[in-house]
Amino acid sequence: MNLKKIKEIPIVKKLGFNRIVLTGVLVLMYVVLSLIVDKFAGMPRIMSALNYAYFLGFLSLGVTFVIATGGIDFSIGPVMFCCALISGYCLTSHGVPMLLSLIISVIVGFIFGMFNGYLVAYWRVPPFIVSMASMNIAKGVASVFTKTQSVSWPQAAKGGWFRSLVKVGKFPVGIVIFFAIAIVCSIVLNHTKAGRYILSLGSNREAVRLSGVDIKKWEMLAYVICGILVGIAAIYFVGAYTTVQPGYGDQYNNEAIAGCVMGGTSMAGGLASIGGTVIGVLIIALLQEGILALGFTKDYQLIITGLIVIVAVYADVMARRRNN
C-alpha cells in the first residue's frame, strides 16, 4: 500500500505520520480561512489566535503528562483560575510585587498538583474522583481567598510588565516561551528517567513497580508537572484576558484535553506526544478564530472540535487495530 510506504520513510517515521497529517490540517485550515474570510491573513488574527493558544497550550501540555500515566485531570481549568485569582489578589489587594505574584501562581498550581498526585499515587483514589474534588476545592478556595471577587491584572501601561511575557509591541514573545517550554516538556518526556517511568507506568503500572521503581513518586511527579504548567497557563490567561472570576474555569478542561488527544496522546496511558499536543492546540485556537471570523458563535467551534477529535482518535484507533 502506498500509505504504508510513506509511513516507512525515515523522516516521516521520525516526525510521526499523524503529526504530519495534523500539521497539514493546520496549514490547510489557515489557507482556506485566508481565502474565504476577508482580511484573515496577517498578524492581528494570528496574534489573537495565539492568545487563546498560549494558556490552552500550557494546560494541554500539563494534562499530557497526566494522561500519559493513564490518569485524567478535570480540574486544570478551575485550578488555572484559582492560581490566577490567588496570585492576582495578592498583587492587587495585598501589594505583593509582580514577580512574586507570578511565582505564587506557579506555586498554587504546584500545590494542587501535589494534592492531586498524592491522592492518586499514594492513596489510589481514582483520578476522576480526585479531579472532581479538587475542581470544587479550587473554585471554593479561590472564592474564599478573593472574597468572591473577580481579579483584574494590571494593564501593560500600569505596571503590568508581565504582559511582555505575552507580547512586546507586535512581537509575540509568548510563542517563543511556549515553544521553549514545549521542547523542555518533550525532552523530559522522552529523554529523562521521569518521562520514561511516567510513560511506562501508564502502560503497565504493576510491571514497573515490580521492577523496583518507586512508581508513586513518579506518578505524583506527573501531576506536579501538570500543576506547574497550569500555574504558567494562569499567567498567560490573565496576560491575554486580564480578568478571572471565581467559580469558573471548567469550560477549558475539554478543549485542553481535546488538544492533547488530538495530537496522539492515548487516553489508555503509555503513549504521549508533546509535538502532537502543540499542533492540536494550535488547531483548536485557529478554529476558534476562524469560526468567529466566519460570523458563527462559539457553539460551532465546540461542535467542530468535538468532531475533529472523534475523527483523529478514530484514525488512531484504526491504525492501532491494523497493527494488531
Binding site: D38, K39, P44, R45, S48, N51, Y52, K139, G140, S143, K147, T148, Q149, S150, S152, W153, Q155, F237, A240, Y241, T242, T243, V244, Q245, P246, G247, Y248, Q251, Q288, E289, L292, A293, G295, T297, K298, D299
Partner: protein
C-alpha cells in the same frame, strides 16, 4: 464611598472626552459616510444570549438597523462568565475592521487591550448596558447604560414603603434577603449595593438599626454594615457559587426558610427566577406585607411577569434593553456620520401588578 459616584462622574468626563474623540470618529467615518448608509456595518457584542433581557436588546439593535438601513451582526459568549470568549469575539470583530462596534462588556478590565486596538484601528466603540470606566481615552465614544445603583435603590424604596408598617411594628429583629447571582460584574454589584444602602438609609431615618450580613463583598461594600447583635433589621446577602438558576434557588430557599424574613430582592433575572423557584416549595411569597414575604425582582421575562400577575412577586425593576439596543445603533450611526455624541443614561422603572399595562412601562416588559 458612594458607589453612585462613578456613574454620576462619568457623564461630564465623557462629554469632555467626546471633543477630542471627534476627529478620530470623523476620520473613521469618512469613507463610510461617502459610501452612504447602506455600506455601514456595525458589530454588536452582547454579554450573552442567555436571558431574554439580551434577546430584547438584540431585537432593538435589529429594529434600528432596519430603520437606518445599516448592516449589523450580533454575537456574544455562551454565558456572561465567559470573559475570555467575549474578548476573543471583540478582537475578532476589530480585526474585521467594521464601521463601528457596540459593546456590552462582561468585564470592565478584560476589554481594555481590545479597546486600545480599536482605537488604534480607528474603529469607534459604543458601550451599552455596562460601561468601561478605564477605557483608553477616545476609544469609547459613548456609554449607554442604566444607573444600576439607582435602579437597586428604586427597588429598595418600593419594598421599604410596603414593609414600613411591619418593620415599625416588629418586636423582634426582622430580616431582608438579597440574592445576587455573582459579586463581580459592575451592574449586579451596583444594584445590590444600591438596594442595601437605600434600604439602610430609609430604615435608619425611621430610627431602626440595620446590619448587613452574608457575602463578604456586599457586607464590606455597604456604606454601613452595622452590628448584627443589636440590629432591628438584618439584610442578608447570598451569592451562589455559580450563575445558575438552581444554585440561586438553593441560596434563596435557605434565606426564605428563616421565620423572620419580611422581604427579599433578586438583583437580576436569574436571581429573581431563583427566588421564584425556591418559592415553589416554600410558598411564602405574596403581596400582603407582614403575612407573606414580599419579593422584589429585577428585569422582566415571562416567568417574572407571570409571578407579578399572580401576586407571587411584589414587583420588579425593569430597564429598557430594547431602547438601549436601538440607541446603541443610532449612536453608532451618528458617529459614522460625524456627529458628536455623549453618554446617555437610560432609566430603570419600578413595575408591579398595578402599572404593568401602563403605556410607559409595558413596552419595556419583554418576554
Amino acid at each position: 464611598s458612594g458607589a453612585a459616584a462613578p456613574a454620576a462622574d462619568a457623564a461630564p468626563a465623557a462629554t469632555e472626552e467626546a471633543a477630542p474623540a471627534e476627529d478620530t470618529s470623523t476620520e473613521a467615518a469618512a469613507p463610510a459616510a461617502d459610501a452612504a448608509s447602506g455600506d455601514l456595518d456595525f458589530k454588536i457584542v452582547v454579554k450573552s444570549f442567555q436571558s431574554s433581557y439580551w434577546q430584547a436588546a438584540v431585537q432593538g439593535v435589529n429594529q434600528a438597523a432596519e430603520e437606518l438601513g445599516v448592516k449589523v451582526e450580533c454575537n456574544g459568549p455562551n454565558a456572561e462568565s465567559d470573559i475570555a470568549d467575549q474578548v476573543n469575539m471583540l478582537t475578532n470583530y476589530i480585526n474585521g475592521a467594521p464601521s463601528g462596534i457596540g459593546l456590552a462588556a462582561c468585564d470592565q478590565s478584560a476589554c481594555l487591550d481590545a479597546l486600545q486596538m480599536a482605537k488604534d484601528a480607528g474603529i469607534p466603540v459604543v458601550c451599552f448596558d455596562s460601561g468601561c470606566p478605564d477605557a483608553p481615552e477616545g476609544s469609547v465614544l459613548s456609554t449607554i447604560a442604566t444607573d444600576n445603583y439607582g435602579a437597586g435603590a428604586t427597588a429598595a424604596e418600593n419594598l421599604y414603603a410596603a414593609l414600613k408598617d411591619s418593620i415599625a411594628s416588629a418586636s423582634a429583629p426582622v430580616r431582608i434577603g438579597e440574592v445576587n447571582q455573582e459579586s463581580t460584574s459592575e451592574s449586579i454589584t451596583q444594584r445590590g449595593l444600591g438596594f442595601i444602602d437605600k434600604f439602610s438609609e430609609l430604615a435608619t431615618a425611621d430610627g431602626k438599626k440595620v446590619a448587613v450580613v452574608g457575602n463578604e463583598f456586599y457586607v464590606n461594600g455597604a456604606k454601613d454594615k452595622g452590628d448584627e447583635a443589636s440590629a432591628d433589621i438584618i439584610i442578608e446577602v447570598a451569592v451562589p457559587a455559580q450563575t445558575t438558576v438552581e444554585l440561586c434557588a438553593t441560596e434563596a430557599s435557605a434565606i426564605m426558610n428563616k421565620s423572620d424574613v419580611l422581604g427579599i430582592f433578586g438583583s437580576n433575572q436569574v436571581a429573581a427566577e431563583g427566588i421564584l423557584s425556591a418559592n415553589e416549595n416554600l410558598n411564602k411569597l405574596g403581596t400582603e406585607a407582614g403575612k407573606d414575604i414580599l419579593a422584589a425582582g429585577f428585569d422582566a421575562g415571562t416567568v417574572i411577569k407571570q409571578a407579578i400577575k399572580d401576586g407571587k412577586m411584589f414587583g420588579a425593576v425593569t430597564q429598557s434593553p430594547l431602547a438601549m439596543g436601538k440607541t446603541t445603533v443610532e449612536t453608532l450611526y451618528k458617529i459614522a456620520n460625524g456627529e458628536t455624541v455623549s453618554d446617555i443614561a437610560t432609566d430603570g422603572y419600578w413595575y408591579d401588578n398595578s402599572n404593568m399595562d401602563a403605556p410607559d412601562i409595558a413596552p419595556n416588559l419583554y418576554d
